[in-house]
Amino acid sequence: MTASDPGPPVQLAGAGKAYRVYRRPLDRVKEVFWRRPCHDPLWALRDVDLELTCGETFGLVGENGAGKSTLLKLVAGTLRPTVGRVRVAGRVAALLELGAGFHPDESGRENVLLMGALNKVPTRALDDYYRSVVDFSELPEAVLERPVKTYSSGMFMRLAFAAATAVEPDVLVIDEALSVGDMHFQKKSLDRIMYFRESGRTVLFCSHNLYQVRSLCGRAAWIHQGRVVALGATEEVVTAYEAHERARTERARVAAPASGAAWRPVAAASAPVRLVAVTIETPDGVNPTVIETFQPVRFVIEVDSHEPRPFHLGLAIRRNDQENVFGTATHFLHADASLQGVGRQVAALRIPAFPLLSGDYALNLYVLDDTGLQVLDMAEGILPFRVLHAGREFGLVHLPHEWELPS
């Protein structure tokens, strides 16, 4: 630790944000001059005490409207706290609403230069900043001279992402912004975020993709109705949140029963790797109507790869109430041995003695990039199958066990 330790990069102390609701316009003025509150506060966020350590990646989870975005905006500086203190050391890059500061009638170049000036890039470094934005966005020079309103949304996002991240931030604030533009650019932007993370920048990150939160963040906070209800190691926090979500969906399901499962890969036609087929093999044959508990089972996944880039496969078995029973991915076991090669690729997950008990299940399949973060293709709720257990044990899964009886 150096003598000039700048302290925590992000610090919130008792921070809260209330939106003011005035009954009459005059109350607004009264409040300004009388310095006495004349409004009904609407608290979006309250009593947040949070300190990020330098270089950590911190996740935020919570329902829509819980206050996650408000917290991110406080750190990004677009909102001021109503009470408490928010302190950010160094330069912040916020990937909140990408391109929100862009003016549609201005050229891409003009907009990028303004972003540079707003991020306090010194005037002499502005040219370099502009160059690095253009290089990253891969937009041709001619396009940058056109007003941004003529851009496709993909081009717009590419430029906005490049402009926001080219400032070499100390703190990066991200709101679900991991999917920008086409597959190629998504990969590139993800790589840049990973680069920031690895080069010791502090990242504050909010996502509904709990898988991403789990794999990226060391610590996390769960925000519920404007308050931090859990803060600590990611696994603990996310698990607590999942339990809450489960209870909530349970209630919702009564009203709306789950739709029928169907094979629906979501990847665009341009996806570099696409799911083609999945089959279940047991000693009884291919795709049997029933799997017996303890049978050896193979899940065979076929994909078409159009590029020689490496990728990973993920598979989850889920119960018919959408609850995940077991999920795994190739990089969990073989982090540095990814699948690779152009053309049809076949991989299989073998389970020597299928431990699930009687019930109806289906599969979720994922094709992931080499970092295991970007989803290239996926299919959920496919190939429903039934498991029958001949024995008398009941429940979800057969646990290895023995009874120790008094002799």
Binding site: P25, T78, A100, H103, E106, E110, L118, K120
Partner: protein, 256 residues
């Protein structure tokens, strides 16, 4: 707070450019329109409506008298009415983008100087052509301009932030400006005003400013009281406006 000059430069360029965006002549309009207005006034007051003002000996004296006061006034009125609405108008933008909000009113006030600048240039050429350029008091001109800038920027900052709390200002400002216009010796000379109410004109910051411009360009009499009043108004509006802005700026985060 340090003023963010780079952002201001880009924003000013954008503001001026966007006004003429898409038009064939583009930025030329910034030159064409003041010249056309001046030409129209010239035709009107030099040939048709040939009034003379006692203060000026030259032919078509009223034409020169009118322009000396009207050129700064048009800029002031435009700058202040635009400044009042500028933060309100960018509310959505400011909610999404961290932005130094003082740039907005300062930009519109500064941008309004463009027309005044071009107009003043043409005006000086006409004064020279009429042979009365020597009548003016040149050192008063920068003084008047500095006072004008300080007053309009201070007032613009205060109006812009106040309008966020009190939308009524969006309607009130143009009305008050109209009142101040007639309460300034722009359309009429001070000699037509009863001497008994001359001191009331010291209470109108823009009346004393216009009288300073009259002295700078046309060499009209400038009583010490007017100059003192100008100094006081510059401090009150410039400094006071800035203080109001600085005090209320934190409250913007609440309304945004």
């Amino acid at each position: 707070m340090a003023f963010p000059w780079p952002v201001f430069r880009i924003w000013l360029r954008r503001d001026i450019k966007s006004r003429y965006a898409g038009s064939l002549a583009g930025l030329l309009w910034a030159v064409i329109s003041p010249i056309a207005t001046i030409a129209l006034f010239y035709l009107l007051f030099a040939f048709i409506f040939q009034i003379r003002v006692p203060e000026i000996a030259a032919q078509s004296g009223f034409f020169f008298y009118l322009l000396a006061g009207l050129l700064p006034w048009l800029s002031i009125a435009e700058g202040l009415s635009r400044a009042t609405g500028v933060i309100v108008g960018h509310e959505g933008f400011l909610q999404k983008q961290a932005f130094p909000v003082e740039v907005l009113p300062v930009t519109v006030v500064t941008a309004s100087l463009v027309t005044q600048g071009v107009g003043t240039l043409v005006f000086v050429v006409l004064l020279w052509w009429a042979g009365i350029l020597g009548e003016g008091v040149p050192w008063l001109w920068p003084l008047a301009l500095i006072a004008q800038l300080a007053m309009t920027i201070g007032l613009g900052l205060a109006l812009a932030v106040l309008a966020m709390h009190l939308r009524d200002l969006l309607h009130a400002t143009p009305l008050v400006l109209q009142f101040l216009f007639y309460a300034s010796p722009i359309l009429y000379p001070m000699s037509m005003v009863p001497v008994a109410v001359h001191h009331l004109y010291l209470l109108n910051p823009f009346a004393v400013l216009v009288r300073t411009y009259h002295a700078a360009f046309l060499g009209l009499e400038l009583p010490m009281a007017v100059l003192v009043s100008l100094g006081i108004w510059t401090l009150v509006l410039g400094g006071g406006g800035y203080l109001v802005f600085r005090t209320l700026k934190p409250t913007l985060g609440e309304t945004l």
